[in-house]
């Protein structure tokens, strides 16, 4: 029997095993099965805890039973998690950054960095090119000390906090105006509009790569970008992991292009030199218990 024959039989057997379910009524509010992912993921987190000790700092706390809070907001004791792979532009060196960040601005955060030349199954294979391990975290991400700007200055689009992202306007026109005004204010006097838009595109990418961006804000930011003057739109643009979506870019005078990519749901995928995935973890330094869209 060939692999092709086996494939036909195996795929049909798996499909036939899907239990019959009636089509739900359309056009009416429905119950989501969002509880399934956190419950399955919590089980996964418990299973992997022992196997992943070599990658993650042991923690004294017991594995939590995940209760899914709405809209990807961490429950008590949980933290935001992100996995960011970046081609740092130095001989194919890829940096993998895992970041654990609490919802509260002043809370402690931590990070784990791995560097390597190869990506396997969406993770960097560490080796040969630099540091692997937990790096110092701090308080008031991305600050380290309570006296840092991140703890003391007001949040904005260029320096957002989780709370700011949760309460910011979802109107693309308002966001666009605020971003442009902030870009012009932060950049040198006399900066032209194009340079300001370039800075805005870069900062939106950074914001989306960070934690705590609600899905509807991600979609609104995509609309802000789509309305930027002269923005180039590329269908099927791939991020560092080859995940494809719609790319928006500006040429950069020194670095080729500044680009951001969104999937069909308006969620951020990264850029040609970066991939980003977000999730929720049961504590600092722990594997994610569920991933967010």
């Amino acid at each position: 029997m060939t692999v092709e024959d086996d494939l036909v039989a195996a795929l049909h057997a798996r499909a036939d095993a899907v239990p019959h379910s009636p089509m739900p009524p359309l056009g009416t509010p429905r119950a989501q099965r969002k509880w399934l992912m956190p419950v399955a993921a919590a089980a996964a987190a418990i299973l992997v805890a022992a196997a992943a000790v070599f990658m993650f700092r042991p923690d004294d706390g017991a594995a939590p039973v995940a209760t899914a809070p709405p809209d990807g907001v961490p429950a008590a004791g949980e933290v935001y998690y992100s996995l960011r792979l970046t081609d740092i532009g130095a001989g194919n060196v890829i940096r993998e950054t895992q970041l654990w960040q609490p919802a509260e601005r002043e809370g402690a955060w931590s990070q784990h960095i791995a560097m390597g030349l190869k990506i396997q199954d969406g993770r960097v294979v560490p080796g040969g090119v630099g540091e692997v391990g937990f790096r110092p975290g701090g308080v008031c991400y991305p600050g380290f000390e309570a006296s840092d700007d991140a703890c003391t200055t007001g949040p904005s689009w260029f320096s957002p906090t989780i709370e700011f992202l949760a309460t910011a306007s979802r109107d693309p026109a308002i966001i666009g105006q605020e971003l442009h005004a902030e870009a012009l204010a932060k950049l040198a006097t006399g900066t032209d509009d194009h340079t300001a838009y370039l800075a805005e595109l870069h900062m939106i990418g950074e914001l989306l790569a960070g934690n705590g961006v609600p899905p509807e804000l991600s979609r609104a930011l995509r609309q802000v970008i789509a309305a930027m003057p002269g923005i180039e739109v590329t269908e099927g643009m791939a991020n560092l992991l080859g995940e494809r979506g719609t790319g928006y870019s500006y040429p950069h005078p020194k670095n080729g292009k500044v680009a951001v990519i969104f999937d069909a749901d308006g969620q951020y995928l990264g850029s040609p030199k970066e991939s980003v995935h977000h999730g929720i973890a049961p504590g600092l330094g722990k594997p994610p218990s569920r991933m967010l869209g």
Partner: protein, 175 residues
Amino acid sequence: MATEVTQRIEVAALQGVLEQQWMPLVRLAALLVDDSDTAADVVQDCYEAVWRLQPDVGDAEHFVAYLRKAVVNRSRSRLRRVRTVRRFLAQARPPADAPPADRELLAAERHRELLGHVDRLPTRQREVIVLRYYCGLSELDTAAAIGISLGTVKSSAHRAITALRRQMKDFSDDR
């Protein structure tokens, strides 16, 4: 009045096609996301979007191809969200026990092993394999369903089959 009647007929036609395609699409999504509950959610999401648009279903074949493409796209998005958790899970998965030397059980074990390798294929290769070998689509229809070129379908299928063949050979050699 005539317009109202026409609208009712169109809504009924849409409802009919959606009902008819519900389970085939749930099964397709289940092969792409591995989980029948998530698969039903994926298809329901597509249906809600289609229902709001109330499209003309005069060309049923074209409409079903459109639905299939929507399911493939949404399955891909859903799969992306769970991929990281699965990577951690895969690291912890214990090796399967050796099955009894029974022909049917061995076939089931071979299928389980093969599907495990299909699940770990890159997303595009997995989509090509499911559409070609489960849905029985031509290379051209597969290209349209995923939104890629014919050449990419051919190369993705070739790479996937080559990889699966190699992995299944390793599986046979180990037994």
